[in-house]
């Protein structure tokens, strides 16, 4: 059996410059047609959709094109008065994922007053378990993504002390694997997205010392394929969103220079759609707001000066993190 690396080839006709205005136009018009099929079918993650679009617009300095008042009103309506949690959309149930997205959006707007903060804190606290892990909602799914959601939500509200931080850290560390990476729960395989969540949790809780840095960062830089793109696990295809998960993790580890940044930039730019605007997972695929944010945020980490500086831990504009006086930990090298 002969081994062949899974990868893509970048075409000669790919975009090689940043089509900033196209992306802003794409996001500004996304969801204007309320009968758009794609838009309707993704209602169950609407709150995160708003976070992706708004953050991308913020990074492009065009957030004024987003309907601010409508968004804030929508978020208020999505808070569940009983549990305090926030749902993806009207008629859906509160969940950790959407609670975080809502809090991130309000942090960017500096409008945390639009929700009941004590309610959010109560919701997050109620989901922490004895082993330090977090449920996503009352139905009991455990995942390190929810640990990250919990500490990020609370730190944005300056209420991190409401949970047992040491236990939250211990749980995340119990998910560390032989390769230094992390999975979704103890025993789960390492995955770049979950590594980002776990490293992010440790960055907010200032416990980056507990990482096996050399092993982890090596595993992360080995995600880069000959095309310049990054995959999320060994022997998988590249995907644009991993340029965020991997590069944000490497930024927190202070080892962003372990990948070829020029080649990665070429891959990210190749994922733009020059007709519709927006970014997709791989060159030639259909674009969406999720990959558009992570394309732009990835370019920001690479130092692209036409995009605002992004904070690697929070995936929000650095200016917002500075305004909130948050100082997530970055390792020394």
């Amino acid at each position: 059996m002969s081994f062949k690396t899974k990868d893509v080839v970048l075409s000669q006709t790919r975009p090689t410059t940043l089509l900033l205005q196209k992306h802003a136009d794409y996001l500004a018009s996304y969801g204007l047609n309320k009968d758009d099929f794609e838009y309707c079918m993704t209602e169950y993650l609407r709150m995160s959709g708003i976070y992706w679009s708004l953050t991308a617009m913020e990074l492009m300095d065009q957030s004024s094109r987003m309907p601010k008042d409508d968004i804030i009103e929508f978020i208020s309506l999505c808070q569940d008065s009983e549990s305090g949690g926030i749902s993806a959309s009207n008629g859906h149930d509160p969940h950790m994922l959407y609670t975080l997205s809502a809090v991130q959006v309000l942090a960017m707007y500096d409008r945390s007053d639009a929700i009941n903060i004590d309610g959010v804190v109560k919701f997050v606290v109620s989901l922490q378990q004895d082993d330090g892990s977090f449920f996503g909602d009352k139905w009991g799914e455990v995942d390190t993504r929810f640990s990250f959601c919990a500490v990020m939500t609370l730190s944005l509200l300056h209420r991190l002390d409401a949970i047992n931080v040491n236990r939250a850290v211990d749980f995340v560390l119990s998910c560390m694997n032989f390769d230094g990476g992390f999975g979704s729960k103890p025993g789960s395989e390492s995955h770049a997205g979950l590594i980002y969540c776990c490293v992010g949790t440790l960055s907010i809780c200032k416990r980056m010392d507990a990482l096996k840095v050399d092993e982890l960062a090596w595993w992360l830089c080995e995600r880069q394929l000959p095309s310049g793109g990054l995959n999320g696990r060994p022997e998988k295809l590249p995907d644009l969103c991993y340029s965020w998960w991997v590069m944000a993790s490497l930024s927190m580890l202070n080892r962003i220079h372990w990948v070829d940044q020029e080649k990665l930039e070429q891959y990210i730019l190749a994922c733009q759609d020059s007709e519709t605007g927006g970014f997709s997972d791989r060159p030639g695929d259909i674009t969406d707001p999720f990959h558009t944010l992570f394309g732009l945020a990835g370019l920001s980490l690479l130092g692209n000066s036409s995009i605002k500086q992004v904070n690697p831990t929070y995936c929000m504009p650095q200016e917002t993190i500075d305004r909130l006086r948050l100082e997530p930990q970055i390792l020394l090298i």
Binding site: S2, F3, T5, D35, F37, C40, M41, Y44, S87, A88, G91, H92, D93, H95, D137, W139, E141, N177, F178, D179, G183, S184, K185, G187, S188, E189, H191, K206, R207, D209, A210, E215, A217, W218, W219, C221, E222, Q224, P226, R233, P234, E235, D239, N254, R255, H257, W258, D260, K263, D273, S280, D281, R282, G284, D285, I286, F290, H291, L332, I333
Partner: protein, 528 residues
Amino acid sequence: MHGRLKVRTSEEEKVKKEKERQEKLKVFKHAMNVIQNKRKKCELDTEQLDVTGQVLTKNPDIYTLWNIRREILIVFRSNLSVMEMTKLYDAELSLTEYCLKINPKSYCAWHQREWVLMTRSDPDWQKELALCNTYLKLDERNFHTWDYRRFVVSQCKPDLQEEFNYTTEKLHDNFSNYSAWHYRSKMLLHLFPDKKGGRPIQDSHYKQELKMVLSAAFTDPDDTSAWFYQRWLLGAVKNITQIVVCTVTPSKVTIAINNSVSKSYIKEKIKVIINNHEVIGEWKSCLGNEYDDLWVLNHDQSIRNHLDIKVKHILVDNEMEVMRLSELKPAIYVGRNKISFQNKYSSTVLDELNEQLDACRQLLELEPDNRWTLLTTAFFLHCVDAKAYHKEIIDIISTLINIDEQRAGYYSDLKSKWCMEDNIQENYANLSLDYKVECKKLSSLPHLQYYSFCEALDLSNQNLTSRVLPGLIKLQHCKKLNLSNNKLTSLQGFPYLTLEELNITDNPLIENHVEQLRKKLKNTKIFF
């Protein structure tokens, strides 16, 4: 959205497709309306099960719909017979199976399956394990299926040796099955820990695993999975927390440790004793964190000449290590430990490493530019005897910097780390307060806490970039620092140090940055 290719279609086709989609959307919106209305009216009934089921078969990620189904099943449970419930639970499992066929990565569908099995009184775990086997045949890397397998195993508790054998089987099918290597690492730690020796794995199994990796790697050296497993095996050695150096001066006491420890560890396990009196005071992490490898104690003792200073360290097995400090200069006391960065293996394992090293060298003769074989050879050399092979190791890493440009940054930092380790061991052999780091072209400064006691450190003529500056905070006793002829482009992040002299000549710096640093380090003579 993942893996959806944009296809060019004619206008006609577009119109047709849009019409189809609007039809689908109408059905979807109607169903969602029905569901929401029924929910508002608290109608937890079979009709609601039917409608939510219909929507979920097409969109298994609408989490709220699964919540509704659970609410209904919970209500039914208190009214229906066991037989009737069994039927409903079976139907629920079929629904999740159907959904997983559409989207094998649906978190919601997998979680629903777990919920059903944990809720019903008659779960058939063997059937679930068989289902995992089937799914892993279809996609051997789906991490949801592997997670589900671990869940099932945690419930039905089969002999873990069987699970270990399963990974062997999977790996013999395909050595590049990283998920199987991962699961194997977990099983290995469970089944064969070396409890007596304090090592992660028993020697006999350690050796066996190394052999397995080598046969995988020789099948195809470009298949990366086995190499990660091998790297882990090589690093799986006993690790002991050790004091590296303790420094006492009239202004402060510092203690450097080989790895990060908590504040309470320092407080409880380490005592500094001056003329038989324990120094009392609050330990502060050098970086201001709860865990650190350099701790600072600001004290109010008067530190004079000819004091008797020692540090006591309570070790894991309650043994006590005592280190005496010597007065290197009037009122400057330093105590250093015997240090080593060499991994220690048993002779059985060492023999195996040497054998594999030979195999790698043979492989390199056939394929001198294979990056995996090169890197592995360097690691074997480092594990066997880092000091004796230092030059050969550094030559290999230098080759890798050239042939694997994408990861040149990684190799440079790896080279820096190994050079620093070599240099520190040399420096620790002669007692002084003034050192020059004799490495060539360092790109990073690992283990800097080992130099925390120095008064003068020469880091000139390296490849240091501004990235390393915040780390200089570890040089807590430094008075003269030489960073000339490096690649510093900015001085932002330069820490507050009580330096007398700082040399930053021959760096691509902007004057403006130097001015800002002058304001920060008011009492430092800066050579620019």
